[in-house]
Each structure stands twice: as structure tokens, then as C-alpha cells.
């Protein structure tokens, strides 16, 4: 078929709602990770822990479960599907942190900046979507990706546990805390994907966005360590014990603040035991600053002029 063989035809349609348009954008955003080999490898790497959890669940609830269960409980609560730590631990430990940083760096943090770099915003904003609708679509897309990795995994493991458990004991013991664990994970995904997409909106190129994000996450963690080091002191009652600075310094790092909130919502005793509202305040302040800056950066005149 040559280019002039197909005629143009008129087209009638009833426009869909603005929410449906935002959903189109979110769906596209979610699918982007599977469009590159790098993204696909990263996704598989991120969900490897689900396999580990499934094996542990099988060992705890399958044949010889009593023997393994006893050993597991003695070693660590994270090895038993009867504990909250089992479902939450992999999103708060070092492996979860690395996967999170890589995942958000490749997907959420690049998204708007990459659009800016190739003038894609001209395409978006000359259609029927507002700058905030666009931002919302990008955020929902990145949020759903994190949900697939961090929420769907533990949920699948728990469902597998329910189906493979020999009796209702597993359900009776876990149903009390699983909703709060899932809620904690959802909050974490929502907040961190918002921050990642927000950082992206402030940058004009994906590389700058990634740099800013890594500085924001890793740099703030380094800052917390330095500040705690400066505030190190000997305990009054036990001078031989050296104590770091106050725990609330952790709230200066978005990741640590989020872990504190996550553990609070899930009902886990946190290592860093400071008032959870400080963590909320820290993330809230950061979000407000991002929104104010985004308001300017996503103005149509800024992009189109």
C-alpha cells in the first residue's frame, strides 16, 4: 500500500472523562518498564524476593513444617510467614533499598525529565490533558509499578500461604495484621513514587533528574550519618557507652522517614524509635516544596515558550 492509497475519513466520537485520559497515561507509564531490556531485567531482579518468600512459606507450611518453623522462629521472625516482619522486611532492608533506588531511578525519576528532553510535553499539552492531569497520570503509573513489586508480591505469598496451610491457624494468626502491612506498603509506594516523579518534573534531562534523586536519597542518608556523628556523646549513667545523635535525625532522609512510617502503620517496633509525626512532617514539607516548584516547572508557558 502506498501512502496515498488510504483516504482520510471523518470520525465521530463522544469524549471520555478526564479521569479516563489520566488512566491512559498511567497505563502507558506502567508498561514502559517492559519496553526495554534494562527495565525488564530490573523488574525481574526486584521480584526475586517473592520467590524467596514463596520457598520460605512452603518450608513453613508444607511437609516437615514443624521442624523448620521452630528453627525459623529462633533465627529470625523474618523467616516465618506468621510474622509481620516476614512480609515487610524485604521492602525495608538493604536489598529492598537497592531495588527501590534502581527501580525509581530507571522509571519514576526519568519519566517527566525524559519527556521534557524530547519535547513530548508539546504533544501532551496540545491534547485534552492539563499539566496537573499529566503529573497525576505519571504518578499513578509509577505508583502502580511500585505496587506490583512491593505490594503484589507479599500479597501473592500470603494467598499462597492461605491455600497451602494445612488448617485455619495460619489465616487466624495472619489476617489480623496483613491489612495493616498492605496499607503500610501502599503508603510507602504512593509517597516515594510521588517524590520520584516530583524530582523528575523539576529536571530538564533524565540524567539531571537521576543525579538529583540519588543525591536526595543517598546524600540525605550520608548527611544523617554525619549529623549523628557530630551529635555523638557519652551516656550520663554509663560513660563507657557512646550514643549517636537523636533518632529523629533519620527523618531528614526520605527513605528512612518512610521506613519509620511504614513500620508504625504495620505495627512493627522500629529500630529508630522517634515520634512518627516527625517523619510525616519531614515528608510533608518535602512534598509541599516539590509541589510549589512543580507549579512553575510544569506551566505551559515555561515549556511552550
Amino acid at each position: 500500500m502506498t501512502i496515498f492509497d488510504t483516504g482520510y475519513s471523518a470520525f465521530q466520537y463522544e469524549p471520555v472523562s478526564p479521569l479516563a485520559r489520566i488512566w491512559s497515561l498511567a497505563r502507558m507509564e506502567l508498561g514502559k518498564i517492559f519496553k526495554s531490556k534494562k527495565g525488564l531485567v530490573l523488574f525481574i531482579l526486584s521480584v526475586v524476593y517473592v520467590m524467596v518468600l514463596l520457598v520460605l512459606t512452603f518450608l513453613n507450611l508444607g511437609p516437615n513444617s514443624e521442624q523448620f518453623s521452630e528453627i525459623g522462629k529462633q533465627l529470625s521472625p523474618r523467616l516465618s510467614p506468621f510474622t509481620r516482619e516476614f512480609y515487610l522486611g524485604y521492602s525495608t532492608d538493604a536489598f529492598g533499598f537497592i531495588c527501590f533506588v534502581l527501580l525509581t531511578t530507571i522509571i519514576g525519576v526519568r519519566t517527566i525529565a525524559a519527556d521534557k528532553a524530547v519535547n513530548a510535553l508539546e504533544i501532551y499539552w496540545t491534547r485534552g490533558i492539563s499539566p496537573w492531569g499529566y503529573f497525576l497520570g505519571k504518578w499513578i503509573g509509577s505508583f502502580l509499578l511500585l505496587v506490583v513489586v512491593y505490594v503484589a508480591g507479599p500479597l501473592v505469598v500470603w494467598l499462597y500461604g492461605l491455600l497451602s496451610a494445612p488448617d485455619v491457624t495460619f489465616m487466624q494468626e495472619t489476617v489480623k495484621f496483613v491489612p495493616s502491612v498492605i496499607l503500610a506498603l501502599l503508603i510507602k509506594c504512593a509517597v516515594l513514587s510521588f517524590l520520584a516523579v516530583g524530582f523528575s518534573g523539576l529536571s530538564s534531562s533524565p540524567n539531571i533528574a537521576m543525579f538529583m534523586w540519588l543525591i536526595g536519597i543517598l546524600g540525605s542518608r550520608a548527611l544523617v550519618t554525619i549529623l549523628k556523628g557530630f551529635a555523638r556523646r557519652h551516656r550520663g549513667d554509663h560513660p563507657e557507652i557512646v550514643q549517636d545523635g537523636p533518632d529523629w535525625y533519620d527523618a531528614l532522609c526520605p527513605w528512612d522517614a518512610m521506613v519509620r512510617i511504614e513500620e508504625h502503620v504495620a505495627g512493627i517496633t522500629s529500630v529508630s524509635d522517634y515520634n512518627v509525626w516527625i517523619a510525616w512532617a519531614s515528608l510533608g514539607a518535602l512534598s509541599v516544596v516539590l509541589l510549589v516548584l512543580l507549579r512553575r516547572n510544569l506551566r505551559t508557558t515555561e515549556v511552550m515558550a
Partner: protein
């Protein structure tokens, strides 16, 4: 009327990009001409609701003046000047997403994306990532994106930018088809005047944020005058002196006794021959030509400069 502008002013900070422009864009194909920085793109973006004008009024089709920009974009298709694509998406996905964002239901968007991509000439290439397309293919994706929701009006900003001669011919032919066969109104912004002359019936010429002149291409290119090229044997000064009373613009003398004389539309050609003969010269070559839009534009710019920025259309032929 497709678009009407009345005293439209657009400012970026202190810089006034469009200075009180009043212009009319009738139905059909209209060229918005001007050099880079003349204010063409600013006008288009204001019409799309992407820039808020500092002053003046705009009307698109029969839509009320305070129509929501989203509603405007439903009846208008925009093809941006700059190279733009959505990262990681192929041609089909790009156009389908654009359709969904404009408000088409999902299945309709998919069907329509295939249709317009075929129309634009990307039938076999639509599943390749846009980032790997040639410039011509990228322009076609942009055109398909602008067309996907079947708009009544198309704003095409420099659609032939970066195209090779064959790609340029294809693109102009597509644009021509859209107006002549499918009844679309097109506003074609370009600094390539020959493109506009080829596809547009009407033009608005802009320079430094002002409208220099506007009218139908036919009228402007034959505005009150004819241009005659002469090769004359004889005394150059005497011939030049003899031609001067007949010309409405200064006689341009070129090498090898060549003259370019702009005369009034109704002047009898015989008077020119007689004037040369009386000056002792012999006409060796006589050629009359229609003015191109480029000449109209340059003439209008020169006239505006002489008159200190006047935008009187009559200046074109003066």
C-alpha cells in the same frame, strides 16, 4: 472564518512577541508567514490556549471567546515545529495515546491510530520506535497525531522542516489533500515561502510581531504591478532614464544591460518598447513574470522599514 484575531498582544516578560495583531484566517488553507521570531508560533500557541495573550481577542470557528482550552483542542489539531516524540513508544502507540488523551475511547483510538498512520504514509513502519525514525517519518507521525481526533482546523507549524525534497513534496501533497479532498481548514506556519505558495490560498505575513500584509495569494502576487525583465542594447544611463517615468518602483539595473522594471498593472507594454527606442536602445530580451510570495514578503518588509513599521497592506505594491 476559521480564526479571527483582534488587537492580539502576547508578551514574554518584557519582550513583546506579538504587537496588537488584527488578522483574519478564512476557511481553506492559510499561510502564516514570517521569518524566525516573527511571532507565528506564539499566535498558534495562544490560539491553542497554551499562552495567555496580554491583550486583544481571538475567535476560532464559532466557539465563544472564553471557550475552555480543552474544548478548543478538540476541534483543533496541532503539529508542533520542534522535533517531539514520547520516549520508548512506537508510532502506533504514540498516535493512539494522543487520541486517548484527546478523549477518544480506547478501542476507537486504536482503530483511528491505524487509519491516520496509513493516511500519513507510515503503514509499514508504525511498530518501530519513533526515536529511530528519520526526520520525514517523525514529521508524518506528528501529522498523524494532529489528525487522529478528526479536527476541523489544523495548525501546522513548519511541517516541512528538515525534510529532503521528496519528503517535502509528500508532506505538501498530504496537506493539499486535507484541504481540497477532505475539507479541513489549515493554518500553515512557515518561513519557507514557496511551500506556502504551493498549498495556500490565503496568507498573513508577519514580521517582528506585526502583520505586514494579508490577503489571497493570487491578489498579493499580482498586486497592482507587473515585473518586467529587459535586456537592452545601447546607452545604459539613457535607457535607465527613459524607463524611470514608466516604473512604479526604482528601476533595478543589473549586469550585461539587464533591467528589472516594476510597472503598473494596466500599463501598455508598447510604451516600454517606445521609451527604449527613443533613448537609442534596442530591446533584446523581454520577459514578464509573476511575483513570488518571497518577493511580496521582501517588498513588504522593505516598505515597512521605509515607513517605520507601517503595516498597511497597500505598502506591498508601492
Amino acid at each position: 472564518m476559521t480564526v479571527q484575531l483582534r488587537d492580539l498582544t502576547i508578551q514574554y516578560g518584557r519582550f513583546v512577541a506579538v504587537k496588537g495583531v488584527t488578522a483574519e484566517f478564512p476557511r481553506g488553507s492559510v499561510g502564516l508567514l514570517g521569518r524566525n521570531g516573527a511571532g507565528k508560533s506564539s499566535v498558534l500557541k495562544a490560539l491553542l490556549g497554551l499562552l495567555r495573550p496580554t491583550g486583544g481577542q481571538m475567535q476560532i470557528l464559532d466557539l465563544p471567546e472564553n471557550t475552555d482550552p480543552a474544548e478548543i483542542r478538540r476541534v483543533v489539531g496541532y503539529m508542533p515545529e520542534r522535533e517531539s516524540h514520547i520516549p520508548l513508544l512506537n508510532g502506533y502507540e504514540t498516535v493512539r495515546l494522543a487520541a486517548e488523551l484527546t478523549g477518544l475511547p480506547r478501542l476507537a483510538a486504536a482503530r483511528r491510530a491505524h487509519e491516520v498512520l496509513y493516511f500519513a504514509g507510515l503503514g509499514e513502519q508504525r511498530y518501530r520506535p519513533v526515536s529511530g525514525y528519520s526526520t520525514g517519518m517523525k514529521q508524518k507521525v506528528k501529522l498523524a497525531t494532529a489528525l487522529v481526533h478528526d479536527p476541523q482546523v489544523l495548525f501546522l507549524d513548519e511541517p516541512t522542516n528538515g525534510l529532503d525534497p521528496a519528503g517535502r513534496r509528500d508532506m505538501l501533497r498530504l496537506i493539499q489533500d486535507l484541504t481540497t479532498k477532505f475539507g479541513k481548514s489549515i493554518i500553515l506556519s512557515s518561513h519557507i515561502l514557496s511551500d506556502v505558495e504551493q498549498v495556500c490560498e490565503h496568507v498573513v505575513l508577519m514580521e517582528e510581531g506585526e502583520v505586514l500584509t494579508q490577503g489571497s495569494v493570487k491578489e498579493l502576487t499580482s498586486y497592482n504591478t507587473r515585473i518586467i525583465h529587459l535586456v537592452v542594447g545601447g546607452d545604459t544611463d539613457a535607457v535607465c532614464e527613459a524607463l524611470r517615468p514608466l516604473a512604479v518602483q526604482p528601476v533595478e539595473t543589473q549586469e550585461m544591460s539587464r533591467y528589472q522594471v516594476t510597472v503598473a498593472e494596466d500599463m501598455e507594454t508598447g510604451r516600454l518598447f517606445a521609451a527604449v527606442r527613443d533613448a537609442g536602445g534596442v530591446v533584446r530580451e523581454f520577459r514578464e513574470h509573476r511575483r513570488t510570495l518571497e518577493e511580496v514578503f521582501l517588498s513588504a518588509v522593505r516598505t515597512a522599514e521605509r515607513q517605520g513599521g507601517s503595516t498597511d497592506p497597500a505598502g506591498v505594491g508601492a
